[in-house]
């Protein structure tokens, strides 16, 4: 299935891009993070991140569907 990924902050720097479309068989965000994290060399452990699918925060084991937009959120630092 096709997944749209958006990257922010250090993850965007590490991936060298703000977004990408990937073909993946990952069944949930946890598997997807392992897959793309390996490819881009993300050093941050998933336990430090949150994940959003189609603009909503979700559980790491929520099933993914074709066309989903996935965002891995590193710890925030606004304010």
């Amino acid at each position: 299935m096709r997944i749209r990924l958006l990257y922010f902050a250090s993850l965007a720097d590490c991936a060298g891009r703000a977004s990408e479309d990937v073909e993946s068989a990952a069944v949930h965000p946890s598997a997807l993070y392992a897959e793309v994290g390996k490819r881009h060399g993300f050093a941050m452990d998933a336990t430090r991140l949150r994940v959003a699918v189609n603009g909503k925060l979700v559980d790491w084991l929520q099933p993914l569907a074709d066309g989903d937009e996935v965002v891995f959120l590193p710890p925030v630092s606004g304010g």
Binding site: L6, V71, L73, P74, S77, G78, G79
Partner: protein
């Protein structure tokens, strides 16, 4: 209602405060977060704020709605800057009005703490030595 906003331009705290006006309000507390010239012992020259905008807006709104209920506020609003900011600039503004000061002080403190903890906004600090780094506390 868009009580939580992201702004690419300068924030005018006085203007923001006008939206808090209510006849039932006896107290108004505003918080301004400014860009400081140092962090963790390093000289900071400027900051870049980046936001995952759609989720930042919905999370910010959720926090303000919860604050209004939790503290019985008359009104609450907040604005966070995005983009590049220099030292001394207003980075985040939070304002509440309430019947009495206890609720107003507590709510304003609670809202800024929640924003800092949950809203998907990231700070890239640019240091005097030319290095920069995203903060992921």
């Amino acid at each position: 209602m868009n009580r939580f906003r992201l702004s690419a331009g300068a924030i005018d705290g006085d203007l923001e405060k006008r939206a808090l006006t209510a006849e039932s309000a006896g107290a108004c507390v505003c918080f301004e977060g400014w860009v400081r010239n140092a962090n963790d012992g390093r000289d900071v020259r400027r900051l870049d704020y980046q936001a995952f905008e759609s989720l930042a807006l919905s999370e910010g709104e959720r926090i303000l709605v919860e604050a209004k209920q939790r503290f019985g506020l008359c009104a609450a609003s907040a604005v966070h800057r995005i983009g590049s900011l220099g030292v001394g600039e207003l980075a985040v503004w939070v304002g509440v009005s309430a019947g009495h000061r206890d609720a107003a002080f507590a709510a304003c403190r609670w809202i800024i703490d929640e924003i800092k903890q949950h809203v998907p906004i990231w700070k890239n600090e640019h240091y005097a030595d030319g290095e920069s780094g995203w903060l992921h506390p």
